[in-house]
């Protein structure tokens, strides 16, 4: 029978779970050992922040928190590959990307601590805030990419989405419009195996999540999301294509959610300890550390020193967060519209009066 079209999804990995290179053609950036060390240090910092945030929640000093344990390589690759004037549209646990883009830990804590000011962060002013409604951020990335294209700015919009989120209508709509309009957009599907309690295979009959891009005519690739080198290489490639007007791309980063979904979740209800133990064998930091040490670029002493340093830094941020007073009640009103309509002025006064009374 005549063939109308054929497609191929490649799988990219440089550094395997044991920290050994599995291919020769190392990309240029990966030959810069100091860069690799720096990225590794950032991954470690993210992991330390994550642990402290969970501890804060457990002691009642933070609201529900979504950890990123196991996603560090994927996030660092995204963050380090992007330019500052590129636009990032996250979901809700991409701390590694945000730290690299200048968001302060205290700001992330403020958001999870129930304070909107955390979204008015030190990162790029054009970046989007956390996006709780799954998948909707992908269309913000597409719209941003369209703005860049209209204004002929060499900028790329990057969105991240989960394996569960790859089922959400908005995600597929975003890929489709990116393909239809040839937008400078990169969508990274962070496939960590689970959407709360729903396993990846219950989300779709597709063999890979990367192939969702085929429906939109986008280039797609599946990458070992625990391999910092492979993820960074894929991001560099995708960003370059997009920046030069060659269109959007879908990257499936295969990783694993080593933590509960959030601090409100108990993953033991729905997945086996074995699965998690097995996943720890493939986690991203250990393999990078092994690799760097094999290059004599990293030592246990440096590791210990760095952990201490990160710990101090995060503690400082935590204190800054804890010392932040709640917003005054007016804050509830003052960002609803650019200018407060008469109705709201009245309600605002009403609320202020109650504040005084109590």
């Amino acid at each position: 029978m005549p063939i109308a079209a054929t497609f191929e999804i490649e799988y990219l990995q440089y550094l395997n779970a044991e920290g050994k290179l599995v291919r020769e053609d190392l990309p240029a950036f990966a030959r810069d050992v100091r860069l690799l060390v720096k990225m590794y240090q950032e991954m470690l910092m993210v992991r330390i922040f994550d642990a402290k945030a969970i501890a804060l929640q457990r002691t009642g000093k933070l609201g529900t928190y979504a950890p990123c344990l196991g996603h560090e390589a994927t996030y660092l690759a995204i963050g380090s590959a992007m330019q500052e004037d590129d636009c990032f549209a996250p979901s809700y646990r991409e701390y590694g990307v945000q730290f690299h883009r200048g968001v302060k830990p205290r700001e992330l804590l403020m958001y999870w601590g129930g304070d909107e000011r955390g979204n008015n962060f030190s990162g790029p002013a054009h970046d989007f805030a956390w996006c709780v409604p799954i998948g909707t951020q992908c269309l913000h990335a597409a719209g941003s990419a369209l703005a860049f294209k209209i204004r002929r700015e060499p900028r790329v919009a990057v969105c991240t989405i989960g394996d569960g989120g790859s089922s959400k209508a908005d995600f597929n709509s975003a890929l489709n419009v990116a393909g239809a309009m040839n937008l400078p957009m990169v969508a990274v599907i962070v496939n960590n195996g689970w959407a709360i309690s729903v396993p990846r295979n219950a989300q779709t009959g597709a063999k890979t999540l990367a192939q969702k891009g085929i429906a939109a005519g986008l280039e797609c690739i599946q990458v070992d999301g625990n391999d910092l080198i492979a993820m960074r290489a894929a991001m560099d490639h995708a960003l370059k294509r997009a920046r030069h007007g060659h269109g959007g791309m879908v990257i499936e980063a295969v990783t694993y959610r080593l933590s509960d979904h959030t601090t409100a979740d108990d993953a033991r209800r729905y997945r086996s300890e074995e699965e998690v133990k097995d996943a720890w064998e493939r986690e991203p930091l250990r393999r990078m550390k092994t690799y760097l040490m094999s290059l004599n670029a990293w030592t246990e002493e440096e590791e210990i020193a760095l952990k201490e340093q990160c710990s101090k830094y995060v503690d400082g941020e935590v204190n800054a967060y804890l010392e932040t007073k709640a917003q005054p009640i007016e804050a509830m009103f003052d960002y609803t519209y650019a200018e407060l309509p008469p109705d709201l002025v009245e309600q605002r006064n009403e609320a202020l009066a109650w504040e005084k009374r109590n």
Binding site: W112, G113, I329
Partner: protein
């Protein structure tokens, strides 16, 4: 007989109806093994199996659309939106199809489906987990909108909602999911939809509310009683279709009405009640109707949310304002 919470009453109602009606299926995100993020579907998978307790892909459009399809083909689906703040992706299917199918086909195809969702603020949850968006549904013909406020009413009204031959939006006030327990016989007895429940008789002022706010309203009634002000408390329970007669009857008696709800005030459902009073009870009203509601802003993240939600004090103050007139 066991004492159960509101969330346990929801589970009990689902289990009863699934046991007695094989066409009832439950679907949503994490409703299976996990039993729902609030455990509303806890244990149902073990009892009824994966064909009737269905974990769907993560897409509200999908959940709403296949619910319409299931119902049109004779099933009785009970779909869950994990939170009321994620129900928006379901609106096209609910408004264009669930609410219209009977009318569109002159009764040939009907949608006996229920959309459940945890609803409202006050649990220190993240963004989009604290909304009171019932007003999205109350202007849509063909829908019923139900909001229980106690374990007993949650059980009886959910049974009624599932058995109702038309689509029902069933919002569960998550703030009081586990607030207290009461005896709820698991006897399959449904409560009537389309009636308001008078929770407390009173003669001076009528306090009308629904959902979690029933708690604050009853507390306000207690405080007022201590001052010698007799407040009648009405739980609307079924917002649409509205049983205005019960409210009207009460206001005929008291001449005063305070409406309490979490949602933003402007064009919230309280407006409809206040409007009907202006139209049908004008001469019964001794004092202007009062609305104690959320402000016309987004409910803030949790550090400020309790300042947004109507408080006992605000309800009492509104009642006092109505009493100033005689």
């Amino acid at each position: 007989m066991a004492q159960i919470t509101l969330i346990e009453a929801v589970t009990q109602a689902l289990a009863w109806e699934m046991k007695h009606d094989p066409s009832v299926v439950v679907l949503g995100e994490d409703v299976g093994v996990n039993g729902g993020v609030f455990r509303a579907t806890q244990g149902l998978l073990d009892t009824f199996g994966a064909e009737r307790v269905i974990d769907t892909p993560l897409d509200e459009t999908t959940i709403a659309g296949i619910t319409v399809g299931l119902a049109a083909q004779g099933m009785k689906p009970v779909a869950e939106a994990q939170f009321e703040g994620f129900i928006y992706g379901m609106l096209e299917q609910i408004i264009c199809h669930a609410a219209r199918m009977r009318n569109r086909t002159r009764g040939r195809l009907t949608i006996p489906a229920v959309w459940r969702a945890p609803w409202g603020g006050g649990i220190r949850a993240p963004e989009h987990h604290s909304e009171a968006n019932e007003a999205l549904f109350t202007n849509v013909p063909g829908l019923r909108v139900v909001l229980p406020s106690s374990p007993g009413r949650a059980y009886g009204l959910l049974l009624a909602a599932i058995r109702d031959p038309d689509p029902v939006i069933f919002f569960e006030p998550k703030r009081i999911y586990r607030q207290y327990k009461e005896e709820v016989p698991d006897d399959g007895e449904a409560l009537p939809l389309d009636v308001c429940f008078v929770l407390r008789d009173g003669s001076d002022v009528t306090l009308v509310t629904w959902g979690a706010q029933v708690k604050e309203t009853l507390e306000a009634a207690d405080a007022l009683a201590e001052e010698g002000i007799s407040a009648e408390v009405i739980d609307v329970a079924t917002l649409k279709p509205l049983d205005f007669d019960t409210i009207h009857e009460s206001v005929r008696k008291t001449g005063r009405c305070v409406i309490v709800h979490e949602a933003p005030r402007t064009a919230g459902f309280g407006a409809e009640i206040s409007a009907r009073l202006a139209e049908h009870a004008l001469y019964d009203l001794v004092a202007p109707v009062e609305r104690v509601t959320g402000y016309d802003t987004h409910i803030p993240l949790f550090r400020l949310e309790m300042k947004y939600l109507p408080s006992v004090d605000r309800i009492i103050a509104a009642a006092h304002r109505t009493m100033e007139v005689s």
